[in-house]
C-alpha cells in the first residue's frame, strides 16, 4: 500500500526535476527519462495494474506540461508500465546489472515509439540521425541515472528491504 502514496510523490518530484534541473544540463535532449523509470519500476516490481496506473499518471502529467493535454506520453508510459509487468517473475528484481540493461532497452523502445508516432518528426529526420543523436544518448543517460531511482523504489516503495532482510 506504500506505493499509493510513494509513487505520486515521486512522480511530482521527478517532474519538477525534469522541468527545472535536468533541462539546464547540456546532455541528451531533456535529461534522463526518469518518468519512464518510474513506470518501468511500478510494472516490474509491483505488477500490471500498478504499472498501468503509474505509467498513465506520469504520462498524463507530462502531456499537460507539454501543453497538449491527453496525448502521446499518457499512452506510451502506460504501455511501458504494462510491458515491464510482463517481465515480473521472469527476471530477478535484485539482478541490478540486468535491470540496468532492461532500462536501456525500454528507453530505446519508448523513444522509438514516440518517434514513430510524432508526425512532425518522423518524416523530417533520418532514423539513423535520430538513433545517434536522440535514442542512444537518452537511453544511456536513463540507464545510468535510472538505476539509482530503481534502487530507491525497490528499497523504499516495493518492499525490497524486507526481501533483503530475510
Amino acid at each position: 500500500m506504500r506505493w499509493r502514496l510513494g509513487f505520486p510523490v515521486m512522480i511530482l518530484i521527478i517532474l519538477i526535476l525534469q522541468t527545472t534541473f535536468f533541462s539546464r544540463l547540456p546532455a541528451a535532449s531533456f535529461g534522463p527519462d526518469l518518468l519512464l523509470v518510474i513506470a518501468f519500476s511500478a510494472g516490474f516490481l509491483l505488477g500490471r495494474r500498478q504499472g498501468l496506473v503509474v505509467g498513465f499518471t506520469a504520462g498524463f502529467l507530462q502531456d499537460i506540461l507539454l501543453g497538449g493535454g491527453l496525448g502521446l506520453y499518457a499512452v506510451s508510459r502506460m504501455l511501458t508500465g504494462g510491458g515491464a509487468s510482463l517481465l515480473q517473475g521472469k527476471v530477478y528484481q535484485e539482478n541490478f546489472p540486468l535491470v540496468t540493461l532492461l532500462l536501456f532497452f525500454f528507453t530505446m523502445l519508448h523513444e522509438l515509439l514516440i518517434f514513430l508516432l510524432s508526425e512532425q518528426v518522423i518524416f523530417r529526420i533520418h532514423p539513423l540521425v535520430a538513433l545517434l543523436q536522440n535514442f542512444l544518448p537518452t537511453a544511456v543517460y536513463t540507464m545510468l541515472v535510472g538505476i539509482l531511482f530503481y534502487l530507491l523504489i525497490y528499497y523504499f516503495l516495493a518492499g525490497g528491504e524486507r526481501a533483503h532482510g530475510k
Partner: protein, 277 residues
C-alpha cells in the same frame, strides 16, 4: 496459464477505449471542455510546485553570485551604465528619424504597421517541458497578467522566441521557434532583398529551416531573417536568425535555407510576451 476472466476483459476494454479516445482526440484535434478544464486545473497545480522550486534555485544562485561574483558584477554594472548612456543618445536620434518617418508616411498616406509601442508583459523562465522532440518553456506569467494563447514571445535583443500555446492562471507554456511544429512567416532583412519564406523548427537540431522561398529569390548566407508579419500572428521585423546555407528544394521549384537561431533556449532566463501589437 493465462486465464480470461470477466475482470480482465473489463480492464482490457477500459484500456483499449482510453487509448483509442486519446488517439482520436489528438488526431482530430478535438477540444473537449471537460478535458481542457481538467488539464488547466492540474497544470495550474503543477506550475505552483515548479515555480516554487525554480524560485528557490534562482535565489540560491543569486546569493552565490552576490557573494562570489561581486567584482564581476561591479564591472558588468559599469559596462551596462555606459551602454545605457550610449543608447539614450541613440534613442534621441531615433526619435528624430521616427518623427520624420511619420511625416513622410502621412504625406504618402501609408498605414503604420511597424511594432510601435507594443504592450508587453515580462516573465521569467520557470521550467522547460520534458520531452524528446518538443521544445517549449514554462514562464511565470499567465491569464492573471493578461496573457492569452497565440501571443508572440520575444527574448534578449527582441529576438522572436516563440508563441504562447497554453495560458494558465499564473504561468504559461511557450512553444519555441525550434519546436518541429512551430511555423511562422519570415523574410530576408536586406536592403535589396525581401525574399519571403516559412520558418520552422527542425527535429534534433537547434537550427531552423526557411522553406518555400521562391526559386529565383535573392537569398545568401549571412542574410538576417526576421518575421514577415504576413500571418498577423507576429509583429513584422522581429529578428529570428542568420542564414547558414541555401539549397534548391522541391526539384528546383523553390529554395530552402538553414538558419542559425539567434537564441539559446537553455540559457534564457527572462522573456517578454507581446500582449498587443
Amino acid at each position: 496459464m493465462f486465464k480470461v476472466t470477466k475482470k480482465k476483459i473489463g480492464l482490457s476494454s477500459i484500456i483499449i477505449l482510453l487509448v483509442l479516445m486519446i488517439l482520436f482526440v489528438n488526431v482530430f484535434d478535438f477540444d473537449f471542455y471537460l478535458f481542457r478544464w481538467l488539464e488547466n486545473g492540474v497544470y495550474n497545480l503543477l506550475a505552483v510546485f515548479i515555480g516554487t522550486v525554480e524560485g528557490i534555485t534562482s535565489s540560491v544562485e543569486n546569493i552565490y553570485s552576490s557573494f562570489f561574483r561581486s567584482r564581476e558584477l561591479i564591472q558588468e554594472n559599469h559596462r551596462l551604465r555606459q551602454e545605457l548612456s550610449e543608447l539614450v543618445i541613440y534613442s534621441i536620434s531615433l526619435r528624430e528619424i521616427e518623427e520624420e518617418n511619420q511625416r513622410l508616411r502621412e504625406l504618402l498616406n501609408l498605414k503604420e504597421d511597424l511594432l510601435a509601442n507594443p504592450a508587453v508583459v515580462g516573465a521569467r523562465r520557470i521550467g522547460m517541458a520534458p520531452a524528446s522532440w518538443e521544445k517549449s518553456l514554462m514562464v511565470s506569467a499567465g491569464s492573471n497578467d493578461g496573457v492569452e494563447e497565440r501571443m508572440p514571445v520575444v527574448s534578449y535583443g527582441g529576438n522572436l522566441l516563440g508563441m504562447v500555446v497554453n495560458a494558465g492562471v499564473s504561468s504559461s507554456q511557450v512553444k519555441l521557434v525550434t519546436d518541429p511544429e512551430f511555423v511562422a512567416g519570415a523574410r530576408v532583412a536586406r536592403e535589396d532583398s525581401r525574399a519571403l519564406g516559412i520558418i520552422r523548427g527542425q527535429p534534433g537540431s537547434s537550427n531552423l529551416l526557411l522553406e518555400r522561398i521562391a526559386w529565383d529569390a535573392d537569398i545568401e548566407p549571412e542574410d538576417e531573417i526576421v518575421s514577415s508579419g504576413i500571418s498577423g500572428d507576429f509583429p513584422r521585423g522581429l529578428p529570428i536568425g542568420v542564414v547558414i546555407n541555401v539549397e534548391p528544394a522541391s526539384y528546383g521549384l523553390s529554395q530552402s535555407a538553414e538558419v542559425s537561431f539567434n537564441l539559446d533556449s537553455r540559457t534564457i532566463e527572462e522573456v517578454l510576451i507581446i500582449t498587443d501589437f
